[in-house]
Subunit: 156 residues, 2 copies
């Protein structure tokens, strides 16, 4: 098997975890998806230490998952809020995947605390599916064959 011989250093899973794998990062993004934008709101709903929150937010801004946008509520001084960029929005499937696994294995008979629905007329429940370009929906990881794409040798 070639599984032992592909280049782990370029692994996208590790790379993505290097960006959002620190404690709190994904939870900050979860709240961002739910509409939270202000520092104090993140702090309140997450309960994370301020220093960590400051650090994570600025990392996420540097990584361009969030943008820091100035705003000014009437009768108040100018402040900043944090909004998701397209790059940040594209992490949504990751969060949904984590959520669905938790819903299945952690909720223990009680209903999932949060449901996702297709916005608009449709309003049907939304879920994540693994499927192939031929249109088959895969039921398990067992149906997947990983193929390393070496940059040098393209041996079978």
């Amino acid at each position: 098997m070639s599984e032992a011989t592909w280049d782990r250093s370029r692994c996208s899973v590790a790379g993505t975890l290097a960006v959002v794998g620190e404690k709190w990062s994904l939870l900050i993004l979860r709240e961002a998806f739910l509409g939270v934008r202000r520092f104090a709101d993140f702090q309140r709903v997450l309960g994370a230490p301020r220093a960590v929150l400051t650090d994570r937010l600025s990392t996420l801004v540097h990584q361009e998952l969030l943008v820091r946008v100035p705003y000014q509520a009437e009768g108040e001084r100018q402040r900043h809020e944090y909004r998701l960029t397209a790059k940040g929005l594209d992490l949504y499937p990751t969060l949904v995947a984590l959520m669905e696994w938790g819903d299945r294995y952690l909720c223990d008979e009680s209903p999932a605390p949060l449901e996702l629905r297709h916005r608009g007329d449709c309003d049907a429940p939304v879920h994540l599916a693994l499927s192939c370009d031929a249109g088959h929906v895969l039921g398990s990881a067992r149906e997947v064959r990983p193929v390393p794409r070496s940059t040098e040798v393209s041996s079978a």
Copy 2:
């Protein structure tokens, strides 16, 4: 908006991260999906410190994502290997989600290091999609409406 008022303490994202959110956990699972089973092989391909690896593996076994199975290569003493359970296999979409994001934003023009294909005759590329029960494929997180399901009040 009800976004500020749902019960974060039961959040499935946080719950799942509590199980696999520590450093190395998801990378161990990645290797498990690629077929790695033995301690020494995890150690070699990941380069993680032995102590951490021991700790993560036993956590994953306790969480029942992996099982510790005895085996005995001929002419050797009995050893253990670690195999994915169904609960562990179900984390595959999470890894695929992380991988796809990394492939898109981190690989920077070079092709993704690993490709997934539908095992068997099909062999078509596999990817993850967010879709609703009515059959629509969603293009963005913006098309999703999160609905909190409070355990007490079911107010709109």
